[in-house]
Structure formats: structure tokens, C-alpha cells
């Protein structure tokens, strides 16, 4: 009997039932690890990835087409919905570009408020990024901790403008409301509470052995490859490229603040690995806390609505504005033809460029590592698909 079975096994083998060769694995669009509706066509050889083709567009909401039919002030709610995890940054980037087109000077109080809320937003966005990155590689507790702290920032924003996620707060020419009473005290309370929590996060996640094994030396992004693919923000700084618009080309009032630009040094592995990209975000939260403290201290008095233009009608021309958001270098290219509706609005989305490098750095890694690499790039599909 046994011999017959062995014979059958041999026959099966001869018929090449056990095929080898490339297999295409579909991941998404409904998959918790793709952080949204992203579909990845993963070409695999066994478990080893040879190529990834991201399929985009599941969240395409025609932002650029809508913008061509709306007055400038009505585009801001749409920019909110592009990067829904860092809406303040998108509003700020768009407003700054329109102000560049209008050649508008803003009161210092407005700039301080903008920096203050942008840095709070940066912490909120990075908290979600590091939390979900931990979740991707199997650490569940830190995710609940980071969401608990993010909740307090959303509460602050709710006091500020009534909305928790989509604010429509920063307008071309100013902000929609002045700070509510006691907002500064509440912010200081928050950063006092939050700062020790970063160390706690480092204890439980950053230096955790299992976490390091999953993320260090995985998905290494060399600096020159990152630059060639247009990668920006914490993902590029993780590779050791010292480039932060807030420092190198200070916009708004960033030149008045004292803060550092954290870079990936390869402390746990090679520079530019997943762990470095993760740790840059953790360190940036500390730097944001520093900026928030200085902004709260130096906040000048004044009117925040004085510079809001009655009607936004820029002269014909075009402008390209850059902004350092939580995910990287946001750009708006606006062409105006002298009407109150732009002729063309193009958004350079940082996550769009960051995602394009995924195939390059995932080659040769396992499928489970692709999850880690994707998590460390911190993509937001709303901004990729627009």
C-alpha cells in the first residue's frame, strides 16, 4: 500500500503539480494594512517579492477638476479632504500659495496661530503614523496609546473651530476664528501631559526587540534613490538627507523658532530602513512640542481678520508654492487668468511620490515586510488619489 502511495506521489511530481514560477498576489483595495483603498499587485516568487504594481484611483474625487469650477475660498474645504489626517497642513499650503499669488502680507498673530495649529496637527498625524506602523508589525498596545493622545489634539481643534478632522480653519488671508479663550492654557496642559508619553512610547515600542527585528535593516531606501523618486518629508530624512523646508527655506514665521531636524542615522541597522523612518517621526514630535511652547510664549496680540481679502481675484499668472507637511513636500501649482476662479490647480502630493518608491525598495523582501515598508512610508490615500 505504502509503495503504491509513493508511486502516486512520484507521478504527481512528474506532472509538475508543484509548479514553480512567479505568482501575482492581490492585496487590497479592502485590506487593513494598505491604510486605505490601495490595491497592490505583488509579483512574488514563493514568499519573496520581485515587483509591486500599485493600482491607484479608488479614492479619486476629482479635486483638480472641482477646483477649476470654484472660487478660491471655496477650494479650502476640498484641500481639507485631500489629506484627511493632516488637514491643517493642506489648508495652510493652499492658502500660502494663494497669498503668494496675491502678494499678501499677514499680521504676525495669524502666522503664529498657523504655526501653532500646524505643529499640533503634525503631532496628531505622526501619532497616527507611528501607532498604525506598530499595529502593522504586530504591536497593538502602542496604537491605543497614540490614539488616546491624538484624541486630545482633536479636542483642542474642536475648541478651535468646531471640527475634529476637516477644519476649514486656515483661509487665504487669515484664519476663520481667533483662538478661543484659554486655548493657550489648554495647549500648554496638553504638551506638558504629552511630552513624557513620547519617552513611554520609546520604552514600549521604539526599543522593543521584536519591533526592531521587524523594522531595522528592512526596506532600505538609499538617499540618492529617494531623491530620484521625489521622496520627501520624514521618509527622505530617514535616509539621512538634511532637507526640511521649515529650516532650509523658512516660510510663515518658522525662522523665529529654535528646533532641530531629526535625521535617520541607522542606529539599529542601516540608514534609511523602516526603523529610521519611524524614529524620525517620533523625534519630530518632540521638536514640534518645542515649537508649540515657543509659539504659545511669543503669541502677539492683534486682529486675525484684518487681512482677509474681500474678494480673491489674483492677476493673471502662475505660482508654485511648497510646504512641509507631515508626509513631506506639498506643492500647489496654480494658474490664474485674472478671475475669481483658478484656471488650473495642480497638487503635488507627497504621498504620491513616496508610494512610487515602494516597488523599488520592496524588491527581495518577504510579503510581511512589504506591510512594514508600506507602514513606514506613511501614505494617505485621500492625498494620493485626490
Amino acid at each position: 500500500m505504502a509503495e503504491v502511495l509513493i508511486q502516486k506521489d512520484k507521478q504527481l511530481l512528474d506532472k509538475s503539480v508543484l509548479e514553480t514560477g512567479e505568482m501575482i498576489l492581490n492585496m487590497g483595495p479592502q485590506h487593513p494594512s494598505t491604510h486605505g483603498v490601495l490595491r497592490l499587485k505583488i509579483h512574488t516568487d514563493g514568499e519573496v517579492v520581485s515587483k509591486i504594481e500599485p493600482v491607484l484611483g479608488y479614492l479619486h474625487r476629482c479635486f483638480e477638476k472641482h477646483s477649476e469650477n470654484l472660487p478660491y475660498e471655496q477650494i479650502v474645504p476640498f484641500t481639507d479632504r485631500c489629506d484627511y489626517l493632516a488637514s491643517m497642513h493642506m489648508d495652510h499650503a493652499f492658502s500660502m500659495t494663494v497669498e503668494k499669488l496675491l502678494d499678501l502680507e499677514l499680521p504676525e498673530r495669524v502666522e503664529y496661530i498657523r504655526v501653532l495649529v500646524s505643529e499640533l496637527q503634525r503631532i496628531a498625524s505622526h501619532l497616527l503614523a507611528v501607532g498604525t506602523f506598530g499595529l502593522d508589525v504586530g504591536a497593538i498596545t502602542p496604537f491605543t496609546w497614540t490614539l488616546r493622545d491624538r484624541e486630545r489634539i482633536l479636542d483642542l481643534f474642536e475648541q478651535l473651530c468646531g471640527a475634529r478632522l476637516l477644519y476649514n480653519y486656515i483661509w487665504p488671508g487669515g484664519v476663520s476664528h481667533d483662538l478661543p479663550p484659554n486655548f493657550i492654557e489648554h495647549t500648554i496642559d496638553f504638551v506638558d501631559y504629552f511630552e513624557p508619553n513620547i519617552d513611554e512610547l520609546n520604552d514600549v515600542l521604539t526599543t522593543n526587540k521584536i519591533f526592531i527585528e521587524r523594522s531595522a535593516d528592512v526596506g532600505i531606501l538609499p538617499a540618492e534613490v529617494g531623491i530620484n523618486f521625489g521622496v520627501s518629508g520624514p521618509s527622505l530624512r530617514g535616509s539621512g538627507v538634511n532637507w526640511d523646508l521649515r529650516k532650509n527655506e523658512p516660510y510663515s514665521v518658522y525662522e523665529k523658532f529654535d528646533f532641530n531636524v531629526p535625521l535617520g542615522k541607522g542606529e539599529m541597522g542601516t540608514a534609511g530602513d523602516c526603523w529610521d523612518r519611524y524614529y524620525v517621526r517620533v523625534q519630530e514630535m518632540k521638536e514640534s512640542v518645542k515649537i508649540i511652547r515657543q509659539a504659545c510664549e511669543g503669541l502677539p496680540d492683534g486682529d486675525v481678520h484684518g487681512s482677509l481679502p474681500k474678494k480673491i481675484r489674483p492677476e493673471a499668472g502662475e505660482v508654485y508654492g511648497r510646504y512641509e507637511s507631515a508626509r513631506g513636500d506639498v506643492g500647489f501649482y496654480i494658474i490664474s487668468n485674472g478671475k475669481n476662479v483658478p484656471l488650473r490647480v495642480k497638487m503635488r502630493s507627497p504621498a504620491f511620490c513616496n508610494l512610487s518608491v515602494l516597488s523599488e525598495i520592496s524588491e527581495g523582501w518577504m510579503i510581511s515586510d512589504v506591510i512594514a515598508i508600506l507602514g513606514s512610508l506613511d501614505i494617505v490615500l485621500g492625498e494620493i488619489d485626490r
Binding site: L56, G57, H60, C62, E64, K65, E68, I227, N228, F229, G230, V241, W243, N248, G317, E318, Y320, R322, D329, G331, Y333, I335, L343, R344, K346, R348, F352, C353, S356, V357, E360, D385, R386
Partner: protein, 161 residues
Amino acid sequence: MNFADIIKFIETKTAGKFSIIEEREVILVSPANWAEISTLLKNESELDFDYLMCISSYDKGDNKTYGAAYNFFSLKKQHYLEVRVDTEDGTAIPSVTSLWQTANWHEREAYDMMGIQFEGHPNLKRILLSDDWEGYPLRKNFKEPDYYHGMPVPKDKSYWE
């Protein structure tokens, strides 16, 4: 380098192959010369534009001229340049994907939205819209389709206002 120096430098290398839109600090290149100028921008150590920030497609509004605006930045030299390449409908622009990988997806997006053809692109197909979409939605003469896969597209937008 500032804009004037950059112009002077490109002028010495390739005279008369581009024009300048002076008041906007933009250079205008024809598709025929773009391959040469783009290689110059990337490889010349004086210019060293290693970072392509954005490619924005635009419609001139005369139903035949479309174009792409390239925003370059040099991380090493810290200077900027904007280049525009205008093209008639149907004439392809040489792809710069082999020089800057950023261009790969941005060119696909320009093709998807504005119908600009890029010659030499490794994989020029739609990126944000589905493959069976007809027309290029960011063109000014784009008409919203009446049906998509047999489903009527709602035209009554009165509930919006």
C-alpha cells in the same frame, strides 16, 4: 544660481533651443529640444537639478495646445527652475522618466488627465481613472458623459444649490 545665471549657462551649451518668458522666470522648450535640455539640466554639474518636484499639465484653452510645466529643484545647489513644454494635440513630449523617476507617475497622470503623450515612457497608461475611461477630464472641452457602463450619470444638480 539665480534665474539669469541659469539661463546664461544653458545658453552657452545650447544656443537658441529655448525661449524665455521673462516676466515669469520660466523657460519654454519645444518637444523637439526637450530631450537635449532635460539631459543637460540633470547631468551638468553646474546645474545639477536632481529633484523633480512636480509635473503639471495645463490646457491653453484653444482646443489644441496643451502643455506640461516642470518644476525643478536642486538639493545640492539650492536653486529652482520652471520649464514649460507646449505641445499640439497628438505631438508627443519626450519622457524624462529615465532621468527622474518622479516623472514616471506624474507623466502617467498628465496623460490620464490631459491626454498628453510622452514618448519613451515605460508604461504610459491611466493611473487615477479606470482603464476604460473615455476622454481626458481636465481638458477644457471635456464633456461629462451621459452614461458610464450603461449607468446614467445624474445631470440634475439642483439639489446641490
